[in-house]
Symmetry: C2
Subunit: 385 residues, 2 copies
């Protein structure tokens, strides 16, 4: 079967942007088409990953606006929402559109515009994704993170400092990412002395609120070859849910959605965790990088924190994680993040990552919706031109 290729990728600068969602989507979408040298009238499907443009700025139908702004008519359009993993869900939807034969040229643009709302307002919109039984008690995602971090440190005898080192590493990587929201190093002391948000987690354990957009262009690999285009292929992809009521989980330090979605992706790609050379994980909170690195099979349960301590996940380490700076320093515009993860892997596999470049033939992106309520895992490899 013809594999699904990614032939173009782009992302806007992430951060506090003086632009509305429509403008952000158009900026990334147009740049992606230009990157691939594909004309908008060649598009058959156009997808937007976005969680909440209606709630954040009272604007819906943004994918139809994007079709207008890119002159992509009569391309079929659709918005995909899977809360904070809308981007990964969009990658899966775009993959399906090509793999099913429905489209031979699908542009996916993920984006979110959030910074015009207060942190409290934005946090409340995000919290509305949780089960009502938890939401009505005021439980937010940061509070789940604090509880889980406390349990993890206790169960696996991990020092508090190890969490801080995730933030230090990802900020260091972000310095070399021209699109990142924060391009500055932070030292461990700064992280550990920042204000408490959800004990034991502090401000620097959390990703910021961000505006931004990212885009990917998908087609059958045969078309990428015909056109002689550099490309990566999606060799494995899968998605899976965990309990929507977070307190029902048997072991809150295991994200079943990560385990199950990666099993599907590994099997499809005929790969094992050992084959993965570089990974973008969903470090919305520092603790999540530990959980995912274990649940994806990179490290044994309870050993993820040691890998960070030992530099295994640094750019020079055995399996670099979040070379982009991660959500932590790059920022987390909800609908864009999963798309931007794939952008980073695409860039690494094609050797275009500049100062961030690592040696990689196989890359993986893991995008977490809610507190792991639904997760997508995507495995990519450089394609043969």
């Amino acid at each position: 079967m013809d594999r699904v290729a990614i032939i173009g990728a782009s992302m806007t600068r992430f951060g506090d942007r003086e632009a509305w969602i429509r403008e952000l989507l158009a900026e990334a979408g147009a740049a992606c088409l230009e990157d691939a040298g594909v004309s908008p009238d060649e598009l058959e499907h156009l997808y937007v990953s976005n969680m909440a443009s209606g709630e954040f700025e009272g604007q819906t139908g943004v994918v139809n606006a994007l079709a207008h702004d890119l002159s992509a008519l009569p391309a079929y359009t659709q918005r995909i929402d899977q809360t904070s993993s809308s981007g990964g869900a969009g990658v899966y939807a775009a993959w399906q559109s090509v793999a099913s034969g429905a489209s031979e040229m699908t542009l996916l643009v993920g984006g979110e515009k959030m910074t015009h709302r207060s942190t409290a307002e934005a946090t409340d919109v995000i919290a509305s994704l949780t089960h009502p039984v938890e939401y009505k008690h005021g439980v937010t995602l940061p509070s789940f993170a604090g509880l889980t971090a406390r349990l993890y440190l206790h169960e696996y005898d991990a020092p508090r400092e190890s969490l801080g080192k995730v933030a230090v590493k990802n900020h260091r990587n972000g310095v070399d990412n021209p699109h990142a929201q924060f391009r500055k190093e932070v030292d461990l002391e700064t992280v550990l002395e920042s204000p408490i948000v959800a004990d034991p987690l502090r401000l620097y354990d959390f990703c910021p609120i961000t505006d931004g957009s990212a885009a990917l262009l998908f087609c059958p690999e045969s078309i990428a070859r015909e056109r002689g285009l550099d490309h990566v292929v999606v060799s494995g992809i899968g998605g899976a849910t965990d309990t929507h009521v977070v307190h029902e989980r048997d072991d809150p330090t295991t994200m079943r959605g990560v385990v199950e979605s990666s099993e599907i992706a590994y099997q499809m790609a005929d790969r094992t965790p050992d084959d993965v050379d570089v990974a973008e994980l969903h470090d919305m909170f520092t603790i999540l990088e530990f959980l995912q690195s274990e649940d994806l099979g990179f490290f044994q349960k309870g050993k993820g924190w040691r890998a960070v301590e030992e530099g295994v996940t640094d750019r020079g380490g055995e399996i670099p994680i979040n070379t982009s700076g991660g959500l932590k320093s790059k920022g987390h515009p909800l609908g864009a993040s999963g798309v931007a993860q794939v952008y980073e892997i695409y860039t690494q596999l094609l050797g275009e990552a500049g100062n961030r470049q690592v040696d990689a033939d196989v890359g993986l992106a893991c995008n977490v919706g809610g507190f792991g309520n639904c997760v997508t895992t995507t495995i990519m490899e450089a394609g043969d031109v």
Copy 2:
């Protein structure tokens, strides 16, 4: 290639429901699984079509809540939004999930909860799907409908009464639909003397605001056969956009999205308009039934109104349209409507439509997003057991 089959279908009662979106989705989803005799743990993908649960009731992540309520873990979940054609977009997404090989059992549940909001509030949420250049001038979908109706009557020498006869026909059909919001006949005089909403259109030219949900279960046809299940197959499906700025259209009485999406669907199904025995069209406004019946190729341009006058689209006519009662009498819970259209065709093709039953081997559903900004067309045929 193995075709995609629909092996189960359900819908809740449409109307003013004392239930939130979560409850409505769960009601339809559970009934659909029961209809097919499939267990929730067999589900691989679970999709929800919904435009605006966040805007209407401050609840997002509803598809993850549904996975919880149906005990469908670890099925992958995703929400699909394409404004008022979210249901049709969901059908396309579910079709892609099976046709791509990503899932062998996909449940799609469409739903919307709207009646707890005032008509003005609901209309504003819907209007937020239009291009900002039109929205800021206060243009709503009903106003587009009024302008288009006036132009159509003028261009094609159609009497005002012909529009009213769409409402009369669809209300008559709705009487026999136990799920319909309005199960009462209306006479032409009542329609023509109802309050003006957007001249020349009056209250009875418009669908109501509705709560409700509908569901469909998709799998490869080979699995439907193995299990000996009655089923229909999706023989053709396509989607297409028209200008997002409605006033940019060369001819506002032609919906390019209907023309283009149906061309894709007819070609895939190897069918022509003449082959279609029964159709569900998106009669959010009476004028839209004329436009679609022409743009789908059932009637020549400007002749759709005559077909209604002559009874061609009645249950006993050559091509019955909206045997379900249409959006007009059945109601229009945004994310559910496109799913409920396919439910009606499924029911007709399997001979399970009771008093509404017509003689049909090939059926078509056309779901319109916004004012034709994006449209999906689905062609279905009874499968071989």
